[in-house]
Symmetry: C2
Subunit: 405 residues, 2 copies
Amino acid sequence: MCSLHMNVERFRSNRRNFLKAVSIASLSSLPPLISNSNMTSASRKPESLSNSFRKLDPLGELRIGMIGTYGHTGLVLDAIPAIHGARLVAYALQDGERLPDEAVKREDTDTISHDFGEIKKRPAFRSDTRVYKTYQEMLSKEKLDVVGICLPYSFNVFASIAAAEKGVHIMSEKPLATELEDLARLERVLEQTGVQISAMLDMRLSPGIRTIHDAISRGAIGEPILATAQKSYKFGKDRPWFYKERKTYGGTIPWIGIHAIDFIIYTTGLRITQAAAMQSNKALHDYPGTEDNVGILLKLSNGGTAIVTLDYLRPESADSHGDDRLRVIGSKGVVEMRAERVELMTHDDAVKTLPLLPKDSIFADFIAYLRGQGRHVIRPGEATEVNRICLLARQAADEQRIILV
Amino acid sequence: MCSLHMNVERFRSNRRNFLKAVSIASLSSLPPLISNSNMTSASRKPESLSNSFRKLDPLGELRIGMIGTYGHTGLVLDAIPAIHGARLVAYALQDGERLPDEAVKREDTDTISHDFGEIKKRPAFRSDTRVYKTYQEMLSKEKLDVVGICLPYSFNVFASIAAAEKGVHIMSEKPLATELEDLARLERVLEQTGVQISAMLDMRLSPGIRTIHDAISRGAIGEPILATAQKSYKFGKDRPWFYKERKTYGGTIPWIGIHAIDFIIYTTGLRITQAAAMQSNKALHDYPGTEDNVGILLKLSNGGTAIVTLDYLRPESADSHGDDRLRVIGSKGVVEMRAERVELMTHDDAVKTLPLLPKDSIFADFIAYLRGQGRHVIRPGEATEVNRICLLARQAADEQRIILV
């Protein structure tokens, strides 16, 4: 146990003992990295999860509740009108137990008030949609089939746990949880209740990622070997108060990096087995809790490599909010997305631009799954697994080491 | 010394005790990563090196010897005709002491014979250029001012040491050395003799990198914060025998990654303070010693982040051998190179394409420096320093940990 080279811990996650760390005493006992191509992960495989639960009636009413006004409320609200029988029954504005500090309470109230004013103008919001100050009250009074959760990021997990305890299915803003302990609690409750959860990882159904997923699935690049992803955002001038501290924001890896790690997993069909990360805040002086530059280095389950860069430094003069990119090179070709344009080059063919698959709704896709009408694009266990990887990558950055996922 | 968290070693390099590893007993004694922006590196700063040496006469004859026929011989040979007084006095084909294994000797001889046939057709090769079988013989018989060294990669350092011991300045293929111990030996000899060395890091004088260096130097993007570099190559069908083993090839990080790490250092003006890397060989079954996919994660001396990806998976159908890219985003803008096109976007201005600075000769630039006619684009100590970083990054991959450079 006392070797100069003792520097890697293997985290085994299971629902009973999530954080049991088994340290590897010496690197000499590890297989050399270069022959790791078939390394088995100690973590739970999403496929092994049971997904038996009582399906919702596809012809019946679908009673939806919303919790919170931050983040991507539109992913739920805008999908409702096209879903058969769907009705926004109730809207809860806040968490009744976890309130912002006094210093930002006024800002929080003003922001919620403004954003809720906009939300009420949307077609999904009905004259008979009941409004609650807290989700605790809403969950105790309403009978719901599914909730959408969009609170300040670190609060979301507690709303998910409360909803699951009431047997209500969940579409949560990502990350589902900003701390490993909270994620483990959530997983236990989901297992006990059979409640299904999905996360707003809507990039899986964006035209670019769908098209790359489709190309790789049909073997266009052979075996995926090296993936490079980028998310570069404008920070803007009016990010909410909870971006100022890690404890309320969660970090840029769980907030933005989760999309990139998720679409690498989704498009390549591979798992992540190791993670390292480096990050800092160099330019966002008023938001010390928000990392504005991040690099993540990942080992893929086939021995390949993935890289993610994240930044909040995109100039305000840019013609779009984000500059999302993905490049996957494999044994027989390379596929690449930039600005929603996807190009494929193979060993046999020169570069060609692929026709884009259409965008799809992550919420409608989840509802169809809950109604027994097909698979959800996020398979059972995947939303929690990618969340766990992000929190371990954040920990790897904090502790300046490589973590075996 | 016996903590579960003991996982980082700090390497201090000085010329007397290059490999003394000072282990950090506990992470709790390290400053948190996020406040590391002014972390001082324990490594030697290139600027502190003296560069006093006896200058060559700019009006006199320049006696050049070449050693080896592999790699980028053209960087020396093609520059000779335009350099005042320069003359290719002698050409040595091989290392007389380190010969390839019996199994590849014939292939080695055939390749040298073929390539030397081509070399003899170049304008720099004269009817009175003397040809030697070994550099040992050439160095003992010829009086030379400078040598170019292009042997199988792991042999180059020994030719450099031999040349330095004769007082002959050196333009070596990169990496200068493929092992830290050999690099340390070379540095000691250089210090003792005052011999000047440069490496074939010619990308510093390529149009794209020159243009990005110029833009960042004049403050176009503010402070550089996140750099992302890519080198993607075709592997082709006739790589030489020495790519088959690490001990002769050295690895893809020292061979290709060194360009990317070097141009990140050069364009940003920052140092590297930490390195992690992951790599494997997935597709090059006949060349087990050559990593075909590599990810490198680096911390910059201002607390920013850099990422490098390398691969040998570029489809043969591609319209160029390599797909080199660099993106540097800073506090006031972003500059980006792809296919020798450089674009700049700032907080004030939309995207614009920058006019490219012309390509320059790394060898001619080095000779001008040796003749006292100006600075060399690779400052004293920089070629050995970037070499050291690459070997530590390779070690970080082998040992699955982050190394403080």
